[in-house]
């Protein structure tokens, strides 16, 4: 990806390491009181065919802060698709009303399909359990911001590693930088085999653990926490038992050496104790806020407003 201009952001799989670095450095520039108004005169359609208030507001805020205008669908029931219009027709029509489409859709591959149906850039804001590239990009930016580099770091991921789209994409991205990865999960929610095979192909060192205690001596730079969903377990008692063992407390941080940065894609339920919130280790709210400059950077890059 030499230039981002007029390109769609559909999947982390389409991006090279250089492209990821470009987004991260542009995000840093935007966040550090960088250029404003680079979306002036540009209109962005934010189409959410599946509700996700947080991500939608974050995109809308990013457009407005960059000087652009925004319209969209927040509720799929209000769209003409509910009247039976085909997805392809909706996208082709709306593409004529705007300069960029941001799309969230429950169907896997919907964003890719949309990007092929029109000549304007499409940004994937989540396509079912498949990809959510802007989440991965804001995660990378947060790691860079907190640790000072994206290479040669030790990252642990804990929780539901089997179904968690966020950790799959982040693993893929971190592997491009040759980082050492640790996966901590109950045996039933382990990182899928095909992802581990990819790491093996790339000769990326990784470890698998069942308990957080086993990572005590690893000197992790980042611990990325994800929620374990109750519905993944048939037996509610089994869920309580498992979820409890991965709860991050002040003791966990101390056990991990005291320096580890705790990240989480949010929303959190109880997998991180609120007592952690006020420590310098907690970066999850900052991480969520970094969604704004990251999305601003992407909007600027694909419209050519940022180079």
């Amino acid at each position: 990806m030499a230039s981002f201009e007029n390109k769609s952001i559909v999947s982390i799989r389409d991006m090279t390491r250089a492209a990821l670095e470009k987004v991260v450095s542009t995000t840093a520039m935007v966040k550090k009181d960088g250029p404003k108004g680079f979306m002036e005169g540009k209109t962005v359609a934010v189409l959410f065919f599946e509700p996700s208030t947080r991500t939608r507001l974050s995109f809308e805020s990013a457009v407005l802060k960059s000087g652009g205008t925004v319209f969209g669908i927040a509720d799929p029931a209000a769209s003409s698709q509910s009247k039976g219009e085909s997805f392809a027709d909706s996208i082709r029509t709306i593409a004529g009303y705007c300069d960029v489409i941001v799309i969230r859709h429950p169907v896997e591959g919907a964003a890719r399909m949309a990007s092929e149906l029109c000549d304007i850039p499409v940004i994937n804001a989540g396509d079912g359990p498949n990809q959510h590239p802007t989440q991965t990009l804001l995660d990378l930016f947060t790691i860079e911001e907190q640790i000072g580099k994206l290479e040669g770091i030790k990252v642990g991921m804990v929780g539901d590693l089997k179904y968690g789209r966020t950790v799959h994409s982040l693993t893929h991205a971190l592997a491009m930088f040759g980082n050492e990865l640790s996966f901590i999960s109950p045996p039933s929610l382990k990182m899928p085999r095909h992802i581990l095979e990819e790491l093996e192909k790339l000769k990326i060192p990784y470890h698998e653990f069942v308990s957080l205690e086993e990572t005590a001596d690893l000197d992790l730079d980042v611990l990325y926490v994800t929620r374990i969903q109750k519905e993944r377990f048939g037996d509610p008692q089994e869920y309580e038992k498992v979820a409890g063992t991965y709860r991050i407390t002040l003791d966990t941080i101390e056990m991990l050496g005291g320096e580890v940065k705790i990240m989480h894609p949010l929303p959190r339920v109880d997998e991180i104790d609120v007592e952690v919130d006020d420590t310098p280790n907690a970066v999850y709210f900052l991480q969520a806020h970094n969604g704004i400059p990251t999305r601003q950077a992407l909007l600027g890059l694909v419209t050519g407003g940022l180079k």
């Binding site: 999947s11 085909s86 392809a88 169907v107 896997e108 591959g109 919907a110 890719r112 092929e116 079912g128």
Partner: protein
Amino acid sequence: MTGRTYKVYSIENGTVIDHIPTPLALKVIRILGLENEGIMTIGIGFRSSMLPKGKDIVKVENRELSRAETDMIALIAPDATINIIKNGMVAEKRKIKLPEEINGVMTCPNPNCATNVLGANTSFHLEDREKVTYRCRYCERVTPIHPDLLTTG
């Protein structure tokens, strides 16, 4: 009679696809979209030292299949052999290999994929040549090739 009696007569010009495992000959024809492409001879269930269940042969007259076309055969019959015949002679013996991309001939097994729900045209990229797996362009899931997924079958 001293000469060998051919069960499938030889062709003057065209393409011979041999060593197709029985009974995949018709599937090979469908995957190549050759149903309405002129004269073809199909032999099914010949004895073969390499294929215990027997082999099928397809002879396509007056049509030299391109490499892109013959590579599609590798999806269901990776050990098939291709001979291009010109003026009654074998002009080229061709090995086939799995195509890098396959478009429009395989269904994605993921029911939530845009190809199954929103009407996107199917497209896969070769993921692992040894394991014979392909990655869906849309849902990005990796799937092993299975004859049942081939829409032409």
